[in-house]
Amino acid sequence: MSTVRFYIALIAMVLASCSNEVVYDVGTLEPSNKGNKTELKDDLQFMSIAYRDLFGEEVPPDVLSTMRKAYISFGDKELIIDEIVQTMLVSPDLDLPSSAAIAADRSAFISDTYRKFLLRDPSDFELAFWESQLIEQTDLTAKDVYYVFMTCQEYKYY
């Protein structure tokens, strides 16, 4: 009897120790081909992830604090998110692919952009669509494309 209790207690301890610690680290997610994101990012997640996606580093606390202050101080959230995205995209610290680099390998730029922002590879159709856009719209810059990705619905989810 005491042996049975011991094993029950041991199993309970193991389960409890597993369930108490939750680690959120979306940076470890691997690209998916399915795009079946279902969870809406909250405001802090959106701003933190957007910064990391663009700058390749964690958002500094003071930058996040400023973005969050702007976000919670105004009721039209769509408008403020747009402002925040634009602010990040015009930052002089942002290192963007040049037009020449994009033209040299459009497929790679598009695939990288899908992975960077949507955590998945583009479908063959998506890849073909974007390649044709980059060929036809010669003035499309990396900044423009990033703006499109960061303001699309899929980017609001994870």
């Binding site: 795009g35 994101k37 279902t38 809406l40 003071d62 930058v63 604090s65 400023t66 973005m67 202050k69 702007a70 919670i72 101080s73 105004f74 009721g75 039209d76 959230k77 769509e78 408008l79 403020i80 747009d82 402002e83 925040i84 634009q86 602010t87 995209l89 015009v90 930052s91 998506e126 669509f129 856009q133 719209q137 003035d139 499309l140 900044k143 423009d144 494309v145 703006y147 499109v148 990705f149 303001t151 699309c152 619905q153 899929e154 609001k156 989810y157």
Partner: protein, 431 residues
């Protein structure tokens, strides 16, 4: 095309879906009742103000711009009261309307959020009121928007909060028949137009017409490949035109902040308080949008928890701010002679002081449920002669929950409200 125009164009499609042509109530245009005025500004003179220091003038007249009387300020605290500029008004605010001296916060905990919620919803609250979610009963903004014209309605309702602490939650409720679709625009100007946000959130992408069109098409393509599983909480929904005006106004204010044009714009001899800046931004917003319903709150008097003399000083500063607000309203085309201003603290403060003594030997004041004085406040209803009774004092018993039905009465939608409101219209204010 600049970015503003791009936002406007790209938002057109979304707005046409998000803003119903015919609201769920089935109503399309104005409310059934006649209006007393077309604009209401409700100034929550909040932070907890006792009648003793306001209308009863126990320390002398600390509110000389709002209240009649020349009684001298108590000598021991007089040195702590900062000088304000001379009044922009030709007479006291009280003389432009009716002063109610016997208003009760009759039910619910005497906390700031409960007081605000009660004043803005017209409902009593209790200790179960959540501090994390929107209130359960519709706010005056939702009542106004649902039971009035939907045309440009969101830009006509503004909640201008002194701070971000809890108060942004009060621009709409979680009520299933109201909620986000009828929310007010909300702004906390002091943090939003602070230096850090103003210097960092003012850059813009610029798009040519052709580029804007291309980006719009690309966004539509991206969204066509993604099926949303949830509704996005996008906050209050504005039309594309209104959003464009708001961004322009924001940018103007932020530019002024960065270029130093917002350093003491009222030329207060010492400095401008947070309350005064909040009213300043409310005035700028009123001049820009001429909203039909504006609620703005003050908060600095809550320093009373730790410093009685500074509480009196904050009261004196708030008094000047409200007079300045009324002067701006009367100088704003579209608002002049067509606005009713309601001023009321959300709660009072205790009769009995706490143990914190200030520099003048005065004891500080809390606001607790068991002290009846924490439930006593005043209310001032100011408006055009012929609409509001001028220079009148009313001592009848009223309640803080009376303000919402009074606003509904002024704006002509009182009889359209289908939720029960415990308060009554402050009828004796009106001619």
């Amino acid at each position: 095309m600049d970015r503003r125009s791009f936002i406007k164009k790209s938002a057109l499609g979304a707005a046409s879906i998000a803003v119903p042509t015919i609201l769920p109530s089935g109503r399309l245009f104005a409310a059934t009742g006649s209006r007393r005025a077309n604009h209401v500004v409700f100034c929550l003179f909040s932070g907890g103000v006792r009648n003793l220091e306001s209308v009863l003038k126990n320390e002398g007249n600390l509110m000389p711009h709002m209240l009649k009387g020349n009684s001298s300020i108590s000598t021991d605290i007089a040195g702590s009261i900062d000088a304000m500029p001379s009044s922009p008004l030709s007479k006291t605010l009280q003389e432009y309307g009716t002063l109610f001296t016997n208003i009760k916060f009759s039910d619910g905990p005497t906390g700031h959020f409960n007081g605000h919620t009660s004043a803005i919803t017209g409902q009593h609250t209790n200790s179960n009121l959540s501090l994390r979610t929107n209130p359960p009963m519709p706010t005056v903004f939702e009542l106004y928007r649902k039971h009035n014209s939907p045309v440009h309605a969101a830009r006509n309702a503004w909640w201008i909060s002194h701070s971000n602490n809890l108060y942004p939650l009060l621009n709409h409720s979680s009520h299933p028949d109201y909620g986000l679709n009828y929310a007010a625009n909300q702004i906390a100007p002091n943090p939003f137009f602070g230096w850090d946000v103003s210097t960092n959130l003012r850059h813009e992408l610029e798009f040519t017409d052709q580029k804007a069109s291309t980006i719009k098409d690309l966004q539509a393509y991206m969204d066509s490949n993604f099926k949303k599983t949830y509704s996005l909480n996008s906050g209050v929904i504005n039309s594309a035109d209104d959003r464009e005006e708001m961004v322009a106004w924001m940018t103007e204010m932020q530019n002024k902040r960065v270029t130093g044009q917002l350093n003491n714009p009222w030329s207060i001899p010492s400095w401008m308080s947070g309350d005064q800046y909040n009213v300043f931004f409310a005035e700028e917003l009123i001049k820009k949008f001429q909203p039909e319903l504006t609620v703005v709150n003050l908060f600095n008097v809550d320093v009373a928890h730790e410093n009685f003399s500074e509480y009196c000083n904050a009261l004196n500063r708030a008094d000047y701010a409200v007079a300045h607000l009324w002067d701006t309203i009367q100088s704003t085309p579209g608002m002049k002679d067509d606005t009713v201003l309601i001023v009321m603290p959300e709660i009072g403060r205790n009769l009995n002081a706490n143990s914190i003594i200030d520099q003048n030997g005065r004891a500080a004041l809390d606001h607790t449920n068991g002290d009846p004085m924490a439930r006593d406040v005043f209310c001032m209803v100011i408006g055009p002669d012929g609409v509001v009774n001028q220079d009148s004092v009313n001592t009848d018993l009223g309640a803080t929950v009376d303000v919402v039905p009074t606003i509904a009465d002024i704006l002509g939608f009182r009889q359209d409200i289908d939720v029960s409101l415990p308060g009554n219209v402050l009828q004796s204010a009106f001619s």
